[in-house]
């Protein structure tokens, strides 16, 4: 009986951990979906998340109101995305270079600010974090309740965001226009769709989602900011987006898979499972990422105009 019980807790831990690890990926990945569906490659997701995680922590620290922190994170995400948008859409700069610049900037900026504000390198002091949500009734169900009944709000928000994103992209006129702009902006313009407005909207939306992803790190799962705490999650989110064929549900599945690989790795460490070296499990998500990028797992076709700045004639 004892081993049996142990099995169940392992599964619960796995599911809980998978959801936790997947949440920032889902939010950032959805940001990537919107941005790329409109034709703008947003490799800056990583940097946006990092700055948002920092700003969220900062506001929560000074106001002691974690939800204000979340708002600040989203706002700062939008602000940084706006910079990326202006560079890519208005000035038609290389989107990957702009994104890389933002990523490099964000690491130094948050590191500098951390030292400036707290006179402390490495990590911030603990700040108030967003309280967990419990879902009535579901929480009471054995096993399932333990798995999905009580989580940080970001977990539920990310799942809600998937459903909403799918609806917006595939069931509304805005979604049709977003996809049109990402596939063939000139065709969209000839029927009166404002290509630039749609692209700005999508890039800002991706900033908001990546900002929320950043907040989930510093105000959801932890209650502090750590230097470079995103640890490449922005890039993995992009990989999940590709893996998920630029669709919200596909991205969700990919994020859950990546989250699961992460969870497995954490679990095997805590249980002291040594038959697979933990290094290999640590590598697993990244190998999956590379496989997805190389198109080994499922050939995916990006939006045709993704990464190409749009220029009106004349």
């Amino acid at each position: 009986m004892e081993t049996n019980l142990a099995d169940v807790t392992i599964y619960i831990a796995l599911v809980v951990s998978t959801l936790r690890m997947a949440t920032p990926l889902i939010l950032a990945g959805l940001g990537g979906v919107f941005s790329e569906r409109s034709g703008v490659v947003n490799i800056a997701l990583e940097g946006i998340m990092l700055i948002a995680a920092f700003m969220g922590m900062l506001v929560s620290h000074f106001t002691r109101a974690p939800w204000l922190g979340v708002l600040a994170a989203v706002a700062s995400g939008i602000a940084v995305a706006a910079l990326h948008g202006v560079l890519c859409i208005k000035y038609k700069s290389n989107q990957v270079v702009s994104g890389t610049a933002i990523n490099l900037f964000s690491v130094s900026f948050t590191g500098f600010m951390l030292r400036k504000v707290f006179e402390h390198a490495g990590q911030s002091p603990p700040v108030p974090k967003v309280a967990d949500w419990t879902i009535p009734f579901i929480e009471k169900i054995p096993v399932i309740g333990a798995m999905i009944g009580k989580h940080t709000p970001f977990v539920y928000l990310s799942l809600l965001a998937v459903v909403i994103s799918h609806f917006v992209l595939f069931k509304t006129r805005l979604g049709l226009r977003i996809r049109a702009v990402g596939e063939h902006p000139k065709a969209a313009e000839t029927v009166g769709v404002d290509v630039f407005a749609i692209r700005y909207l999508c890039v800002l939306l991706s900033g908001a989602l990546a900002g929320l992803a950043g907040a989930s790190l510093s105000l959801g799962f932890l209650s502090q900011f750590r230097e470079n705490m995103t640890g490449g999650r922005g890039f993995i989110a992009l990989a999940a987006m590709i893996f998920g064929k630029w669709t919200p549900y596909g991205t969700l599945k990919a994020c859950l898979l990546f989250g699961f690989a992460d969870a497995l790795q954490i679990l095997s460490q805590t249980l002291g499972l040594t038959f697979i070296p933990t290094d290999f499990l640590l590598m697993a998500p990244y190998i999956l990422t590379m496989a997805a990028l190389a198109g080994i797992i499922g050939r995916s076709v990006p939006p045709a105009a993704s990464g190409i700045p749009y220029e009106r004639q004349q």
Partner: protein, 553 residues
């Protein structure tokens, strides 16, 4: 009134449609681009229920003028009146509001979207909840398609439908927006002769329901066949306008080019020699990894031009790429002068005497940011006299370039000018000069006159014929049926990666070729069915083929 008199002086009879007022009047439109005046004081008018042809060579300013009407360009000077009222059209939305619709030469359709989605994009129907009402969209499209006899499948994805249907989708797109005036930009360029006939029937149907059509073209025959009136542009200027029935193709050609032109090419009968190129059961995959060539076999002899006719995307590009070493074939044989060169490197093929005029001169034929001289030596820069150890002997390169420039009449300030800055015709002359100067045995010319004006076309055609008469083997791939028919000695028709017909040029008719190009089966093809030794050779003899349709003769 004075302008009208001026037209009369130019030999045109302009009958005023006294009863009706024009729906569109463009007055003295001038559009300047850096370095060129694309439209110079051009005026046109369009009456309800008529087809106006806008005729001119590439670069004459036809598309620019229509882009002004559609709000894509702002004119520097001039005025547009719609239904007699002055209109400011600063973007396509304004044009759509005024009842103007445009079918662009390159379709403005989104391939992964359905037909219905493409048609409603921008003015999508939504239901009460703000959700896209795709069922209403489909219903509306079906209704519209029945009203005007434009058959489409609203639920099909655009990437899976034929070019002819894509064009109908474009027309429906304009009609869905309430267009009264339709601008069709070179609508026949991508169609088979049969589809062209269908299109002219559609156009007639539309004007009979009160629509007006502006039809941009450089094909004289189409002007004569479908238009009510014609306006001719040359080098940005309007050189005449009048009723189509009062003019002739010769007259229009002269106005379009500005000098007398010989519309037909004169050539001696071919003197075919030994087989230079032999392709045997060639198979290859296309860019989407689907089979693009499915057992292609044919040969080209010294001193003859073999033309490959077909609609774009039936394996022509892949065939040319296999023959020039740019694409790996999956099986089969390619013999050049008896040597199997299948899947050899392009350089090996060049050294075997294969020259290639690629269909996309800007991406494959030239390095635009290299000078004219550098582009001339791309095939043989690594050999003396141009290579001197690890250096290039630029003195020799430049001397050689000057030689070619004068021999091929390339209009360039010097050999040190970037190819990018030359006109399309002169760019093509650079390609042709480079490829022909290497004394090739086999010349593969893929769409050698695409986008060129009449003068440059004449030049390229003459050069190709001269090469033939010198005993070179020439494979000509072109989407322009007229070009194939006037240059080739033998014509092969390619359809879905197979050669579906072969005939000598003097016995080929456009109807028959068009029928085969569209996948029609020949009587001979049907006869060989069921016979054990059928095979392609049997189906393709030197005799002309008869189609199973009796009305084509």
């Amino acid at each position: 009134m004075q302008r009208r008199l001026a037209f009369l002086e130019r030999g045109f009879l302009t009958l005023q449609k006294s009863m009706k007022a024009p729906i569109v009047e463009m007055r003295a439109i001038t559009v300047k681009f850096p370095g060129v005046v694309a439209n110079d004081n051009v005026s046109i008018d369009v009456y309800p229920g008529e087809i106006l042809a806008l005729l001119g060579e590439n670069g004459a300013g036809k598309t620019t003028l229509m882009n002004v009407l559609y709000g894509l360009y702002r004119p520097d000077e001039g005025e547009i009146l719609i239904r007699g009222e002055s209109a400011s059209i600063s973007n396509p939305n304004d044009a759509i509001q005024l009842g103007i619709g445009m079918v662009h030469q390159h379709f403005m359709l989104i391939p992964p979207f359905t037909v219905a989605e493409n048609i409603v994009l921008g003015i999508e129907p939504v239901n009460a909840g703000g959700k896209l009402d795709i069922n209403k969209a489909i219903h509306d499209v079906e209704e519209l398609s029945n009203q005007y006899g434009l058959i489409v499948d609203p639920k099909a994805k655009v990437e899976n439908i034929s070019v002819g249907m894509q064009q109908r989708v474009e027309i429906l797109k304009a009609l869905y927006r309430g267009a009264e005036v339709l601008i069709l930009d070179e609508p026949t360029a991508v169609l088979t002769p049969q589809e062209v006939d269908e299109l002219s029937a559609i156009m007639r149907g539309l004007v009979s329901q009160g629509k007006s059509i502006i039809f941009i073209t450089h094909k004289l025959r189409e002007v004569i066949a479908v238009s009510d009136r014609v306006t001719v542009l040359r080098q940005g200027k309007c050189v005449g306008t009048g009723e189509t029935k009062n003019t002739t193709a010769e007259e229009l050609a002269q106005m379009m080019v500005g000098r007398k032109v010989v519309l037909s090419l004169e050539k001696e009968p071919a003197q075919p020699g030994d087989t230079v190129l032999k392709v045997d059961d060639l198979h290859a995959r296309g860019s989407r990894n689907l089979p693009a060539l499915k057992g292609v076999s044919f040969d080209v002899k010294a001193g003859e031009i073999v033309g490959i006719a077909g609609i774009e995307g039936n394996g022509q590009s892949e065939l040319v790429e296999c023959l020039t070493g740019l694409r790996k074939a999956t099986s089969g044989h390619i013999y050049v002068n008896g040597i199997d060169v299948l899947n050899n490197q392009p350089r090996t093929l060049i050294e075997q005497g294969v020259a290639h005029i690629p269909e996309d001169r800007q991406n494959r034929g030239l390095i635009l940011d290299f000078t004219v001289a550098e582009n001339f030596i791309l095939r043989n820069y690594y050999r003396p006299p141009f290579a001197k150890g690890i250096n290039l002997d630029y003195r020799k390169v430049h001397a050689y370039a000057r030689e070619l420039i004068s021999e091929f009449d390339v209009r360039t300030p010097s050999e040190n000018v970037l190819v990018r800055s030359l006109s399309g015709g002169n760019q093509q002359k650079v390609v042709v000069a480079r490829e022909l100067s290497g004394e090739p045995k086999l010349l593969i010319a893929s769409q050698p006159t695409r986008g060129l004006d009449v003068g440059a076309i004449e030049f390229v055609h003459r050069r190709l014929l001269a090469q033939r008469d010198q005993g070179k083997a020439i494979l000509l791939v072109s989407l322009e049926l007229e070009e194939i028919m006037s240059l080739s000695d033998r014509i092969l028709v390619i359809y879905e990666g197979q050669i579906v017909g072969e005939m000598t040029a003097d016995k080929a008719t456009e109807g028959e070729l068009g029928f085969l190009m569209a996948g029609g089966r020949t009587k001979r093809g049907l006869l060989t069915e069921g016979s054990e030794e059928s095979g392609q050779y049997r189906r393709r003899t030197q005799e002309p083929l008869k189609t199973s349709f009796s009305h084509i003769s």
